[in-house]
């Protein structure tokens, strides 16, 4: 008996058996309690409600939705909104974060001081307070639509939200395709490297042709204009969407800025000095020596920052933007099926998280140094 107690393997199995029994027992206990409670309250569990028609509106969505569509479709619309604001927030906060990192690293004292204050200030306040603050600024401090602020041509700020000039989706696609063709053509030209006298006029002609083509195809943007008490035309960002985007992008950019700055700082000074000593031009120094190395340091924390940004979009429900969390909250109130809806909520966010981290891991492995 004594020998058994001191045998590490036996003890290991005993501990694991106790753990397993304890966890399974707790799970069973919770399941039993839940079943009894559900029975006592007369709640039937099941996913049947997903096919039932809804009785609530969704104020704005990427995918079409009308009151009376099925609960299942409301879910799809919620997921669509969540992914949409996640992608937008990630793209814009990465761009802004890059600027913040460059500003903080710059030798310019005023610029780096402003960037440092910006980062310190926004990092140390809860995101939800910042979102509510921006929502309050838009809905209570902005003027009415008739006296909207007009900071840039075509841009209007008012209590009703933000109005921007826009172009139609078809025109946007045309411009995208034109840009892609132009990019490919440029790449083809640059591949040859040798720009001879013969090719120069051809390149010049192509550029002129491209500009005239864009100028003729380019559609007139829709500029918002005041009609009665509100604006018409252009792109309208609701106060909810605008507050969510401003708050989320500003907050996330401080974290991304610090990640990028840390990554560039992590590259040894010797790398800069050696590249300069070799006479590498400044642009290639950055693109061929510093950034590829910094990227390996930056990517893992950047990936987890993207993950937390997706999770942070759930705070949209504080300002009333209908992301998945707000839709599920409404569905729970309307259908009374809390258990299934919260299980679905956890399952959906877990799968989004797992998908993103799988993507990040794949990319990390792709750029990692191969150690032989």
């Amino acid at each position: 008996m004594r020998r058994l107690w001191y045998d590490a393997r036996v003890r290991g199995w005993a501990i694991q058996a106790f753990l397993l029994i304890g966890v399974l027992g707790a799970a069973l206990w919770i399941a039993q309690n839940t079943m009894m409670n559900l029975e006592a309250r007369g709640i039937r569990v099941g996913l049947g409600f997903l096919a039932r028609p809804t009785e609530f509106p969704i104020s704005e969505s990427l995918l079409p939705y009308r009151t009376g569509d099925s609960y299942g479709w409301a879910y799809v619309v919620g997921v669509g909104n969540t992914l949409w604001i996640s992608v937008l927030a990630i793209v814009f906060s990465t761009l802004l974060g890059l600027l913040v990192a460059l500003a903080r690293r710059s030798a310019h004292p005023l610029l780096s001081a402003v960037a440092a204050v910006y980062v310190t200030l926004l990092r140390n306040m809860p995101l939800i307070v910042q979102l509510l603050f921006w929502y309050a600024v838009i809905t209570t401090n902005m003027p009415s639509a008739r006296r909207a602020l007009h900071p840039l041509p075509g841009v209007y700020l008012s209590q009703r939200g933000i109005y921007l000039p826009s172009i139609s989706a078809a025109a946007f696609c045309e411009i995208l395709i034109a840009a892609a063709v132009a990019g490919l053509a440029m790449r083809g030209v640059l591949r040859h490297r040798r720009v001879t006298r013969g090719t120069l006029p051809a390149v010049g002609a192509a550029v002129v042709a491209g500009i005239t083509a864009v100028a003729t195809i380019a559609p007139k943007p829709h500029i918002p204009h005041l009609v009665g008490f509100n604006f018409e035309g252009g792109m309208a960002l609701s106060p909810e969407f605008a507050a969510l985007m401003i708050g989320l992008v500003l907050y996330t950019s401080t974290f991304i800025g610090e990640i990028i700055r840390g990554g560039i700082d992590a590259i040894a000074r010797g790398q800069w000095e050696a590249a300069r000593a070799l006479g590498l031009p400044e642009r290639e120094l950055l693109s061929r020596i510093i950034l590829p190395q910094a990227l390996r340091v930056i990517l893992p924390p950047l990936g987890s920052q993207y993950l937390s940004t997706v999770k942070n979009t759930t705070l949209a429900l504080a300002v009333g933007f209908p992301d998945l969390a707000l839709v599920i909250n409404t569905v729970i109130n309307q259908s009374g099926q809390a258990l299934e809806n919260l299980a679905l909520m956890i399952a959906i966010y877990l799968s989004i998280s797992l998908a993103i981290s799988a993507l990040i891991n794949w990319y990390n492995a792709h750029v990692a140094i191969v150690v032989r």
């Binding site: 409670n37 307070v129 919260l342 909520m345 877990l350 998280s353």
Partner: protein, 365 residues
Amino acid sequence: MTSMTFAVVSRPIPPRAPPPKLRRPLWRLLFGDALSAAITLGTIALIAMLLPALKWATVDATWHAATPSACQGAGACWAFIGAKLRLILFGLYPPTQQWRPILVIAITLLMVLASLSPRVWGGRLALLWGGAILVMLTLMYGGFAGLAFVPTSKWGGMPVTLLLSVLSLAFAFPLSIALALGRQSDLPVARGLSILFIEIVRGIPLVAMLFVAAILLPLFLPAGWTIDKLGRTLAALTIFAAAYLAEVLRGGLQGLGAGQAEAAQALGIPYWRMIWRIILPQAIQKVIPPLTNTAVVMVKDTALVMIVGVFDMLGAGRAAATDPAWPAPYTETYMFVATMYFSICFGITIYAQWLERGVRKRSHG
């Protein structure tokens, strides 16, 4: 012939002074070349865009107002914060009893000040914190020795934010040690369960966890068992903090190297004593900066409990701002609340930097 004697006299070359630091005058830095001048002007233009907001917050603001209707100017209504300060800081706690939450805030401050120096860290300080938490909770509840009983539904404001932060971190810390050890363990069941717990909690948003705690926890418990709303949100915050702290601690355990554990085993030190006396003290010391970071995250995350209807500082401020007598002073309220959070979180950040400097000084001898 004269004999010649040679002597080698070596005179050390005095060390050369370092090259003078390139110190350019400030105006040269700001306007030295075209690029710097452009950046300077651009930054000034950016700051100038904030001037209307500054004017709103200072020159145009109403600082004192005898009645809510006096707050009709174009500027901020700071008078509202003054008038509703009690509601924002203490929520619905009975006004005659508000010395109790004030005392709780004072105890928290005192305890934080007392545990600043790493020299006092140890089992005795942990016990002292346990005692302080008990005293704070009994003070808030009351119901003895003539103190009126105050249910948690009446708690609010600053003490709730502080209690949620301190309690969630205090409860989560032991749990996170178990999870981090489990994740590093050789036992497959312990490792699997720890990984499952940590990854699931880290994969879902805190909002989902708060919903589960607020809506589903009563379903999970036998009929007749009730935990009030504050306790349920505390449970969610604790589980959340435990998963994140466990990952931080895992970093410390991995950074330790196998030699420490192997040496302890070679000396015949029993497992738990080895963990307690050798592994954990070193692992925790390694991860003090990210631990303080997690503390900042948790303080900020307590603001989310407003979503499930707990009156923390944010919830109390929001409730105060709905008073229809005042002209919708939401912006002012959120600015005030954000300032309070900022002072707590920035304080922790400064403290962490001070700690790190101390650690670096010691490791350089």
